[in-house]
């Protein structure tokens, strides 16, 4: 059995002794080869500077500070560790964030003589922002504070107040001296008042995998694999959830459903695969799928949109420029994007949001982002892999920012998609609502803002009290038309399903709205009567309902509908495809 893996990062202000602490941890747990010790000893100016074990770059040794994240590896019989030893200097905060982005836990190093410094707050916040919910606060340099309990307790209170503001953050405090080795690997005898274990004991026993991973399947497609025998599979790393052959998956952006035929692997087919396994899936239906598309759980699909609210950590010397064309990389999807608004910015000193212009290196803020093509995301708090992205400058190729999805954006009229009303008309039980909802799912999955208005449902509120006389029926349609018009103006696709039997009022609504697509959902009366899902035809035939369309009230079919769906001859899927093809040119 392989020992469990724990990834952690260091955090804390410059000169707090992070590199020394990691050096001590590696040294005392026997993870430093003797020859490396010798060479660190040679490089140190007298004695052994443990920081030299991790500070790998020439400039770092010259300046005595850590510039870049150094990754370190060690293992004990109980666990394997990957450490991202992050720099504490303000200038290199983006590198600290990089370390935090893949870590499950942070070791926050505090100087016993200094307590909480501005950089301590910043790092704590960045760690929290990047999804870390478990932290060890190592109060270091206890040797310089006489190993006194009061010093530790004071810093514990002080940092406790910082951590309080970070929702869901669990902090475990340990007094240590990295220089002397107290409470790093072995429990210290110089602080008998501290009853807890050493840092290593804590790291070996704390539950691993400390961040949320949702159960719903997300598989971003990295590439399509084709082999000479006609094999075609979709390769990617499962970001969350699991998959088995035979299960239904939803393909995004098309929203089409299909089933998994097999999970292909080098060592033979798999009966089940789960995150974070890399897989190659073969699907039942020949669907057009490429890099950047996503396979997802159809019952719990991701958010699909072109407008997003996100938190950014700006990582470049070039500040944020609103509406500037950027590239956005999310999973395996690369799209054009622009930041449309800086909603708020975090004041690093007070950790409060404030309004401010501009976002510069190492600053964080909440923004609205618009992408040219839809993205399929989960909130970062629910899924790290599908909730994160980077922004790239297409000119300099620099990585500009790390982003975390906070929600679907509000969008603004005109900036996003054009609005549209799709009007499904036809006899009762012709299949209007079924088609409406199926089209809605697909449009939604493609990232459109979409709303269904169903005449039966609308009669519960907006049109309550209206009857089925010609006058009431026209009034019903006018009200629905008015609601659809408002939605259309706001850039929403309004999908209306209503029998709407009279041609004149349909044309009136069409004239008011303008962007109007009439879909004649056509099935012969006999077919509808046979379906009679709600039992209404039966009642009408029995004389219990009067003025029922098709029985004792006329239905006036559209003369020039944009589309006709013969639901008695087409499957729902075929009708859906027809509707989408008809809408496609209008949605560009």
């Amino acid at each position: 059995m392989e020992p469990e893996l724990l990834r952690f990062t260091t955090a804390g202000s410059i000169d707090g002794g992070k590199s020394t602490l990691i050096g001590r941890l590696l040294h005392d747990s026997g993870a430093v080869p003797e020859d490396q010790l010798e060479s660190a000893r040679k490089a140190s100016r007298g004695g052994l500077d443990l920081a030299f074990l991790t500070d790998g770059l020439g400039a770092e040794r010259e300046q005595g500070l850590t510039i870049d994240v150094a990754y370190r590896y060690f293992s004990t019989p109980r666990r394997k560790f990957i450490i991202a030893d992050a720099p504490g200097h303000e200038q290199y905060m983006r590198n600290m964030a990089t370390g935090a982005s893949t870590a499950e836990l942070a070791v926050m190093v505090l100087d016993a003589r200094e307590g909480v410094r501005p950089q301590t707050r910043r790092h704590a916040h960045i760690a929290w922002l990047f999804g870390i919910r478990r932290m060890v606060a190592a109060v270091n340099k206890m040797d310089l504070a006489g190993y006194r309990r009061e010093v530790f307790d004071e810093i514990r209170r002080e940092f406790g107040r910082v951590a309080e503001k970070l929702e869901g953050m669990e902090v475990h405090f340990i007094p240590v001296s990295a220089l002397e080795g107290d409470n790093i690997v072995r429990r210290s005898e110089r602080m008998p008042w501290f009853e807890g274990g050493s840092l290593l004991e804590y790291l070996e026993t704390v539950p691993a995998g400390g961040f949320a991973r949702m159960p719903a399947l997300r598989l971003p497609v990295q590439c399509v694999i084709r082999a000479s025998d006609g094999f075609q599979g979709y390769a990617g790393q499962i970001a969350s959830g699991s998959v088995r052959p035979g299960e239904e998956v939803m393909v995004l952006p098309s929203g089409q459903a299909t089933r998994v035929r097999s999970i292909c692997a080098y060592d033979g087919g798999l009966e089940r695969a789960f995150a974070p396994m890399p897989v190659t899936l073969c699907l039942q239906d020949p669907i057009d799928i490429g890099r950047g598309d996503m396979l997802a759980d159809p019952a719990r699909p991701p958010l699909a949109a072109r407008q997003w609210r996100a938190t950014l950590l700006w990582m470049s010397e070039t500040p944020l420029a609103l509406h500037h064309p950027y590239l956005l990389k999310h999973t395996s999807r690369l799209v054009c994007a622009g930041v449309t608004r800086l909603v708020s910015k975090l004041d690093i000193q007070t950790l409060e949001q404030r309004e401010d212009a501009g976002l510069r290196l190492n600053e964080t803020g909440t923004v609205e982002i618009e992408t040219h093509r839809p993205l399929f995301c989960d909130l970062y708090g629910q899924n790290r892999a599908t909730g994160s992205f980077i922004l790239i400058d297409p000119v300099s190729n620099q990585t500009l920012a790390a982003g975390m999805i906070a929600g679907v954006g509000e969008g603004r009229g005109g900036a996003g998609q054009p609005g549209l009303t799709v009007w499904f008309t036809g006899l009762s039980a012709a299949g209007k609502t079924t088609l409406n909802h199926a089209v809605r799912e697909r449009l939604w999955a493609m990232g459109h803002k979409v709303e269904s208005l169903d005449a039966d449902a609308v009669r519960q509120h907006l049109c309550r009290g209206l009857g089925f006389s010609k006058q009431d029926r026209d009034e019903n349609i006018r009200r629905i038309g008015f609601a659809a018009e408002l939605l259309t103006k706001k850039g929403v696709i309004a999908l209306v399903s209503a029998i709407s039997p009279y041609r004149a009022v349909r044309d009136e609504v069409r004239a008011n709205i303008g962007d109007f697509v009439e879909v004649y959902v056509n099935a012969p009366l006999e077919a509808c009567e046979q379906r009679d899902v709600k039992g209404l035809y039966k009642k009408a035939r029995a004389g219990q309902l009067s003025g029922f369309t098709g029985i004792d009230d006329p239905y006036e079919p559209p003369l020039n509908p944009e589309l006709e769906c013969r639901t008695d001859r087409e499957t729902v899927a075929e009708s859906v495809e027809k509707v989408l093809r008809c809408l496609e040119p209008r949605l560009r």
Binding site: G30, P33, E34, D35, Q36, K42, L53, T54, G56, L57, G58, A59, R61, I67, D68, V69, A70, Y71, R72, Y73, S75, I82, N95, A97, T98, S101, T102, F130, Q222, C223, I225, R226, A227, D229, F231, A235, G236, Q237, A265, Y266, P276, M277, P278, T280, M315, L327, K329, H330, S332, R384, A385, S388, F389, I390, I392, P394, N397, Q398, T399, A402
Partner: protein, 291 residues
């Protein structure tokens, strides 16, 4: 976990670059990398060629293993020999290992990459190997001359890699970044991967200089009175013979090597003569374009 991460990286490279290549040294990391590439694109073949820079100072077993692997797996493998430098008489004995390495490896590699028009070169480097490698990105940008600027690396949050480059620039990719030597051997064992025989203990002709064991191949100059001796030993890391020190060992199978590594307190590249020039010599060579 590590396997998943590496396969993800290999697929990203295949999808994002026009002409990627795998740098194949015939060493253990290369063997693991090759298996990962086979897995990543199975049942298709890895969609990139392999490139081997043959300095001609390597072990005959290295070339033998390379050729067997090439034949067995039907690999598209390019062997680049720095002929010009060899004709000019570049050798490690007269020039010293640093200069030799600059000409026979670094320059040769850069030449081969530019001749092949490769925009991404995938290597088996691991962060654990050396402390300047510990700071290396998974996607490491190189300028027109193949140089690395450690102060100007792109931040690389999560596993979102930025592979955007200008014409002439290239990216070095390290899918095994987070693997340790022990991880490599455990994987070799678990997956039953063939590795070069030089890794397994055997009696070999060696020059014994203090703690150093220098292979006798390619006739390195002897100090007066010195004679090669048969020593039971194995290599931990493969390079040119003169720069590849061996370690005394009796470990002749992967499980024995795993056992040995658990108790070894010396680092993997310690015996690599070329790394010793000065503190930070790997960083200097990397800046110039070394892998």
């Amino acid at each position: 976990m590590l396997e998943a991460e590496s396969i993800h990286i290999l697929r990203e490279v295949a999808a994002e670059f026009a002409r990627p290549v795998i740098l194949y040294s015939a060493g253990k990391d290369s063997s693991v990398l090759l298996r990962l590439a086979q897995k990543a694109f199975y049942p298709a073949k890895p969609p990139f060629p392999l490139l081997h820079v043959d300095t001609t100072y390597q072990f005959p077993e290295t070339a033998g293993f390379r050729d067997r692997t090439r034949a067995e797996l039907e690999l598209d493998l390019i062997v680049h020999i720095p002929r010009e430098a060899r004709e000019e008489g570049v050798d490690p004995f007269r020039l010293g290992t640093q200069k030799c390495c600059a000409l026979l490896k670094t320059k040769a590699l850069l030449d081969a990459l530019s001749q092949g028009g490769f925009d991404a070169a995938v290597g088996g480097g691991r962060r654990e190997e050396e402390k300047s490698r510990a700071k290396e990105r998974v996607y490491s940008l190189r300028d027109l001359k193949g140089r690395w600027d450690p102060r100007n690396q792109r931040p690389e949050p999560w596993n979102l890699f930025n592979g955007r480059i200008e014409k002439g620039e290239s990216i070095r990719v390290f899918p095994l970044s987070n693997w340790t030597e022990l991880d490599v051997w455990q994987y070799v064992h678990q997956e039953n991967i063939a590795v070069a025989p030089l890794y397994f203990a055997k009696e070999r002709e060696m020059l014994v200089r203090g703690d150093l064991l220098i292979p006798a191949e390619h006739s390195p100059p002897l100090v007066p009175g010195e004679k090669p001796r048969k020593v039971m030993c194995r290599m931990r890391s493969l390079g040119c013979t003169y720069c590849t020190g061996a370690i005394r060992s009796t470990a002749s199978t992967a499980p024995e090597i795993i056992e040995e590594l658990r108790s070894l307190r010396r680092s993997e590249r310690e015996n690599r003569v070329s790394d010793h020039g000065q503190e930070g010599s790997m960083e200097l060579r990397k800046r110039e374009g070394y892998f």
